[in-house]
Amino acid sequence: MATTGKVTGIVSNLVTVEVDGPVGQNEICYISLGEDRLMAEVIKVTGKLASVQVFESTRGLSVGCPVEFAGHMLEVTLGPGMLSRNYDGLQNDLDAMTGVFLKRGEYTPALDPDRKWHFVPLAKVGDKVRCADWLGSVKEGWIDHKIMVPFDYEGEGTIEKIAAEGDYPASGEIAVLRDAQGNSRSVSMTMKWAVKREIRGYRSKPRPFKVMETGVRTIDTLNPIAEGGTGFIPGPFGCGKTVLQHALAKNAGADLIVMVACGERANEVVEIFTEFPELDDPRTGRKLMERTIIVCNTSNMPVASREASVYTGMTLAEYYRMMGLKVLLLADSTSRWAQALREMSNRMEELPGPDAFPMDLSAVVSQFYSRAGYVELRNGASGSITFIGTVSPAGGNLKEPVTESTQKAARCFYALSQARADSKRYPAVDPIDSYSKYLEYPEVIRWFDENVEPGWVDKVLKMKDLLLRGKEAKDQINILGDDGVPVEYHVAANKAEVVDFVVLQQDAFDEVDASCPMGRQRYMVDLVLEICDAEYRFDGFEEVGGWFRKLINLMRQMNYQLFDSDKFKAAEADLRSLVAERRAV
């Protein structure tokens, strides 16, 4: 019989329950309040008392309210039909809810169990299978959604029965498996999985070796992220974190995007709801929404489900990864999740770590980032989760616990700079502070040599040097004055400006410039380096700034035009004649 209990204490959304039977850490329970059933998760057990965090408002709750325990941890339902959905942090379908306002205790099914899918078997009776092996496939939108052996299936089993090609409801039996002990298990297209456990069952998780193209120059060219890699974007408010994340969601070369809006503004999610169904996905020609799943727990939704939302998002991504898909997981913002942890830890009166965050914050963050990655499946296919999270450091100061914990876990660091944002140099990713560890991976360097251009990474490093030299020159000019330094300093400072304006800066709101494919990035990088490698004649520092401004202006016009169009070529021709004017032979 299931364990039950009664409420004995309440502080905000932390409730203590006296239980009459066994209870597990992280077990889900439901508290009855009149007609409503409020979902909660066990976070601490002391003798007969369980402390639970309630995923809803606890207004009106009183001592003695009955509680029922569910016997399982927080879990999601996995199966065909999740694409294009808008879920809350607990995987309730937001569109299926009634009314304009969220109703407490309203839980909606994540999938439609009766919807029929056209099943094509990929395995046959007598095949030996293990967890996550592909049994068949259904068309979910444009992707081949694999129906897999349940992830909790232990050991090897034999297919006793498998459905022939045809239309079946999601919840109907699709296969029967018999294990070594002779027990049979019926399998449908859907299964449950606890969100805090990684979905394993792949063969290996090698080091990432290819690059995930994002269309954002300052990432792809300067600090590329690998497919299956991890990165994070810390930045003070108003520096364009969200715009950058949306740009990634729109343009990244992934099969599937899972966006977790974790404790952020509702209007930002509304922007996705409004725009993504209209925008075209350049890769498939379909709408962007058709490759997107949104998990949305905005800042005014219950705090406890913020934590759940990032795990829910990760679990959905892992599920699709097991089908051999390239998934991009974006979470905005992981700081809000950390704050939710802090609120609970505080109410439980735990001894606080730095800035009152729980002591294990760093471990929790690392464990979460480690779930991303590139995997090889047992059938030879490969899949990946590339994870990029944003961090909202308090006061824009990067020396704070969430940023520091994340820095230990993530391999790419995209620091947004207030100074760049103030001078409207967007995206405001600081080219000097930011880094990508993947640029040091020999396998990534090789990938660039083969797929972009031989010696590419050296060119990238050269551009970084130009930027650094420019910055140093600029500092000198600021100290010594325009005429206190040699003209070369002005040239160096302006060459850095060329890299900045032409490569780093990108207009996310311009139709053409918003997304820049790798081929075009290579062309512009080569052009920029050609210009910056050359020497120029100037008679005095007064001539330098104006000439470079003209040059930058022409190159920006190129960025705004369709690649290789007449206008693009015209601007390039103007550019070449301008360069010829001053080029030292």
């Binding site: 009183s62 969220l102 108003g238 503004r265 800042s299 308090a394």
Partner: protein
């Protein structure tokens, strides 16, 4: 929130702190309102039969045998058309000498709007102030604060914005507002003939600070009623949110919670978000727009209150005194409206974004030139022109006393570009140059 007949009266209080008291009681619900010796209080913690109450006016004078009655209901406000033109205290009782209002009783701090039921904001709010309309355009359903030092005229600017914004209903929430400022608003709205569309909930410096905690929820519940039942465009003004946060920290301190940054409670972000996220564009036309004030101490925006606010709101507006023109301007560098992209160039002329960006970039060049000048370096011809431009731009467009339409702002921008710069230096897309360039 009045007591009813046959209610159990408790007369033994075990613990009393400055803001809370604890007693043994049964059948009490979380968040329920109560009266302790006639003073309004709210249940904040229940542990077995021990109930902790937060007493809004403070516990001074409460004794262990004071009478405690529970109302059986969370805090409520009466909503309806009768609110218009009236001023209330933090509990919703009139302070303008008029009678109690009649209306539907609603729980305050109710549920959030389902995000998929929201509509994307798309309606421009014109204020006539170019520093706002041109550079930081406001949109209905937006939430945006003024980040201002105590000596800056933020209440005046906010009142101007409120009166020009042509909202159907204006709900004013005063938290720790000085009596003088309260009277300023009241007189201004009366003399502008706007009384019939104003509703105000006031906690002035004369009232106990913890009462402030009720004010935003009172305002927003009333605003929600107007926006959903009557599909009105509602503008909510909240001044000052820093003092609201101070009240939060007082309570959390009395509750023995571990403080996080700047002695603020760890839940500050969620507490503020719950308020600001009430800003919404409903699909059937009603909307709630929030303009708030967050006072800074010495311009420090890294303090927990402005910092958390910045992460929640859709931009922020800064005021600054420009000594070159001896006027207060809207600072173009640090101010930001995140929703402006939804209307500029769409609800306004196509060149809006280009003019805005070019002007700010040139203004930044002027700032650099100024630094050079201050450091005793010689100025180039370009520097001198940039400085000239900056002065005119500041006076004609950034000053808060500007009151012109958006088209006129754009034309003024082009005029100034033409007066001081060449086409190359302005660096706007060729197509727009051909159409709007006013120089040689």
């Amino acid at each position: 929130m009045r007591t009813r007949a046959f209610q159990k009266i408790y007369t033994r209080i075990d613990n009393i702190t400055k803001a809370t008291c604890t007693l043994r009681a049964e059948g009490v619900a979380n968040d329920e309102m109560a009266f302790v010796d006639g003073r309004p209080a709210q249940v904040v913690k229940i542990a077995g039969d021990r109930v902790t109450l937060q007493v809004f006016p403070g516990t001074g004078g409460i004794s262990t045998d004071s009478e405690v009655v529970f109302t059986g209901a969370p805090p409520t406000v009466k909503v309806g058309d009768a609110l218009k033109g009236r001023f209330f205290d933090a509990y919703g009782h009139p302070i303008d000498g008029g009678p109690e209002v009649d209306g539907e009783v609603r729980e305050i701090g109710g549920p959030s709007v389902n995000p998929v039921r929201r509509k994307q904001p798309s309606e421009l709010i014109a204020t006539g102030i170019a520093g706002i309309d041109l550079n930081n355009t406001l949109v209905t359903g937006q939430k945006i604060p003024f980040f201002a030092d105590a000596d800056q005229p933020y209440n005046q600017v906010m009142a101007t914005v409120a009166l020009r914004a042509q909202a159907d209903v204006i709900v004013l929430g005063g938290m720790g507002m000085s009596n003088d400022d309260y009277l300023y608003y009241r007189n201004l709205f009366e003399s502008a003939g706007a009384s019939d569309r104003i509703v105000a909930f006031m906690n002035t410096t004369e009232n106990p600070p913890v009462e402030r905690l009720l004010v935003p929820d009172m305002c927003l519940t009333a605003a929600e009623w107007f926006a959903t039942e009557q599909k009105k465009k509602v503008l909510v003004l909240l001044s000052d949110m820093t003092l609201y946060a101070d009240a939060l920290s007082i309570v959390s301190n009395r509750m023995d919670q571990i403080p996080s940054k700047d002695s603020m409670p760890g839940s500050l972000y969620s507490d503020l978000a719950k308020i600001y996220e009430k800003a919404v564009q409903f699909p059937d036309g009603g909307s709630i727009t929030i303009i708030a004030v967050t006072t800074l101490s010495g311009g420090d925006i890294t303090h927990a209150v402005p910092d958390n606010t910045g992460y929640i709101t859709e931009g922020q507006l800064y005021l600054r005194r420009d000594t070159d023109i001896a006027k207060v301007i809207i600072d173009p560098f640090r101010s930001l409206s995140r929703l402006k992209q939804l209307v500029i160039g769409k609800k306004t002329r196509e060149d809006h974004a280009a003019v805005m960006n070019a002007a700010i970039r040139l203004y930044a060049d002027a700032a650099n030139a100024k630094t050079k000048l201050e450091n005793g370096f010689e100025l180039t011809d370009y520097d001198r022109r940039a400085l000239g431009f900056a002065k005119d731009y500041s006076a004609a467009l950034l000053a808060i006393d500007v009151n012109i339409g958006v088209e006129k702002m754009l034309d003024t921008g082009w005029e100034l570009f033409g007066r001081y710069f060449s086409k190359d230096e302005v660096g706007v897309k060729q197509e727009l140059m051909t159409r709007y360039w006013k120089g040689e």
